[in-house]
Amino acid sequence: MQVAKPAVYMGGELYSCEKEEENTELNFGFCFPDTYEIGMSYLGLQIIYHVLNGQENVFFQRFFAPGTDMEALMREKGLPLFSIEKKQPASEMDILGFTLQYELSFTNILNMLDLAGIPLRSRDRSERDPVIAAGGNCSFNPEPLADIIDFFMIGDGEDILREVTETAIRHKKEGGTKLGLLKKLSQIEGVYVPAFYRPQYGEDGLLAGYEKLYDGAPDRVVKRIVSDMDTVPYPLKPIVPFVDVVHDRSVIELFRGCTRGCRFCQAGMICRPVRERSRGKVVEYAEKQLDSTCYDEMSLLSLSTSDYSEIEPLVSDLMKSCRAREAGLSLPSLRLDSFSYEILDEIQKYRKTGLTFAPEAGTQRLRNIINKSITDEHIDNAAEQAIRLGYNHIKLYFMIGLPGETDEDLDGIAEIAGRINQIYRSVCRSMPERKGRFQVTVSVSNFVPKAHTPFQWAAQDTPEEFNRKHYYLKDRLRKIKGVSYQYHGTQTSLLEAVFARGDRRVCDAMVRAFELGCKFDGWTEHFDYAKWMQAFEETGISPEFYAQRLRGTEEFLPWDLIDCGVTKDYLLKEYRRAAEAVTTRDCREGCTGCGIRRLIQCPDYSGRRKDPQSEKAADSGRETESTQR
């Protein structure tokens, strides 16, 4: 075989869609800037596929980044980027829409355009080229891609995609230029057309604001919010890949948003407010999906799954549905104390893997700074319960380089790991039947300050400082038996930070890096730091300026053009509270005034559980991140 995994380019999977050309009025190419195996594990793709192909006159086809072996073959044979469904060249699409899930996939966007034979920059493209669109979490700071992407869709995709495609179909029938289309699209709430805004820089090199070039464009682009999770379409017949993809299972989304307000967490800010799907719908969808796909595993997806208002009855309903279908239910890290022993025992039968917690920081002081409401006691209790239940592996997630961090906080990480080991030993003493190997894994990632968070002004540690901290921590942890240590590369974290808060100027460096051969930057085996540094140097872009500079709070930020619902004032207030190590309550216990109420009503939490104990070791914000390798 010339290509290692030919099946991923093959299509024809169960429930993939092949439409008749005569009914098609708009060809929409969905581009996932990573491989098939990763893209097909992404729920957003399945949702959009379902929504758009549900429109009779739109043919929605998938495009993925080919593996390097396939790419070499395509370039050698002069084959352009083609769709999975009909093997149609990307250049024949009316709209090509990229999903932006993580910054390190940006060069893959360039590579895919290049493979499609489409000029990278908007200004170099002609009327014949497809309109290039993007959406997804990274579009909340669209600027690094502003020269590449013709229009961005900010916020929940379901409604806006329908409006965009309808507008595009009308425009196509009426005939008109690309510019005309972009003008029309800019009238849709949530659409951002970067060409209509010209950045203005001050003499100090800082961004001073934007000059609007088209009067009809909005002053600020307000994100889209789907308000009712029970009426929004959900894929009951998701595509079932032939090959073993990253998450080969049925997935049900319980809710969007999160009320906890961790100050580093972008998803927690930009996905507000919480919108739940009713329990009845969740169960209905779960059963229908299991029946249609015949998967033998089901999982739940949300930012902080255990915060679902009726989580316990829901899990017990789902256990029944799954059991009847010979499927296992896999649950993300849940607050153990909120479950009866019975249910946990039930879950156990299916789930023998380890347990994960994300305390994020090693001491209470630092956890207060980041507003992560977990205490040592919570961690210890949960660990003890997990050990009693027979878990043999506990994985702890931490971040280093958080604002206000000192070496004591690193010591704190080691202490937590050590304490869990002690707990294990004491449980073993009281439960002689509790045997076997036991392992604690400490997984550490580097803090990357993100747009639209209270830490959007903060400086990132230098790579040298990150490395020092890693070695420091590694040294501490070496002294504890049964603890393993994992950490992520510091060089990629720097890059992530540049693009997470970059302005329009960083695009040149990205294009240059691509020209030098950079792609799949999120993959250790492909990432080439030296080339990136060369690209920064040649284009005169200073990565330090973007990553390590402490921004002034009065500074105009590149993403100030985007209204994510949470106000800048609120973020600033949170930033200041962080500096004083003051926590802010989970807003289910009372609104803390983030500003999203300007756009939509927040759910009424008064009838729901309000116990202070509710802030336990739960967190799946991490899980969404961990799928990003």
Binding site: M1, P6, M10, G12, E13, D244, T293
Partner: protein, 237 residues
């Protein structure tokens, strides 16, 4: 309880999905068809289902076999009927038979041979040369090939005893076709690609993978006290 042997094809694009992926396709299809698989007892239960012999990625086949055990006992015909609508394109179900529930040998252990039809679609002259050379090749006393052993060391091995038959097939112009029956299974196994490589070398032709289409056509077993191998379709033990 029921135990079945299903014969099926793997043709067209679906040849690109691997052995393990295909097993998953069958498991889901069986589930969709409402056929419940039996699970093994023990600490790590697994479904009782398996192929007679793995097919390499990229090979087509018109003679694949799947053995599975179910909790209910329906007739083989009704099982096949239920399954038929649940298979992806490229997989046709050809036959299904019931096997005795208890048996000494699994289908996988019974397989002794497989036959292949392999088409060369490089240039015609090369094809004609190889057709001409094929009798000479197969009449050699021994055919020595180099291969890697388990320790990744190169060793020499004689593959002649593993070849039951090998010949060029007359065609009407569409490339050169070779037909062969080779030892297959745990007691002796020859991968057809290894034979083709060695044959190319013998003919002084460079082996280029994509010039060759591989298709398995049948698998065989040796019935008890018999001297002749029989198609696996007749397996009843």
């Amino acid at each position: 309880m029921g135990r079945y042997l299903l014969k099926f094809t793997k043709e067209g694009n679906i040849k690109y999905i691997s052995h393990l992926d295909l097993l998953r396709v069958f498991q889901r299809a069986l589930k969709r068809a409402g056929i419940r698989l039996r699970y093994s007892q023990g600490y790590n239960p697994h479904a009782k289902i398996g192929f007679a012999h793995p097919l390499s990625l990229g090979y087509e086949s018109t003679g694949e076999y799947l053995e599975f055990e179910t909790t209910d006992h329906a007739g083989a015909d009704s099982q096949m009927k239920a399954l038929t609508g649940c298979m992806p394109g490229g997989i046709r179900l050809l036959a299904c038979r019931s096997l005795p529930e208890t048996s000494k040998t699994s289908v996988a252990a019974a397989v002794t041979h497989a036959s292949y039809v392999i088409r060369f679609h490089g240039d015609e002259k090369t094809g004609a040369l190889m057709e001409e050379k094929s009798p000479e090749y197969i009449h050699k006393e021994e055919i020595i090939c180099r291969k890697l052993n388990k320790k990744k060391q190169e060793v020499q091995t004689d593959i002649r005893p593993l070849i039951l038959s090998f010949s060029a097939v007359k065609t009407n112009g569409s490339g050169s076709v070779f037909s062969m029956t080779l030892r297959t299974g745990s007691a002796g196994n020859l991968n057809p690609e290894m034979l083709i490589r060695s044959f190319c070398e013998f003919c002084g032709v460079e082996y280029v993978r994509h010039q060759w289409d591989y298709r398995r056509t049948e698998m065989y077993f040796l019935p008890e006290r018999a001297r002749q191998i029989r198609p696996l379709e007749e397996f009843s033990g």
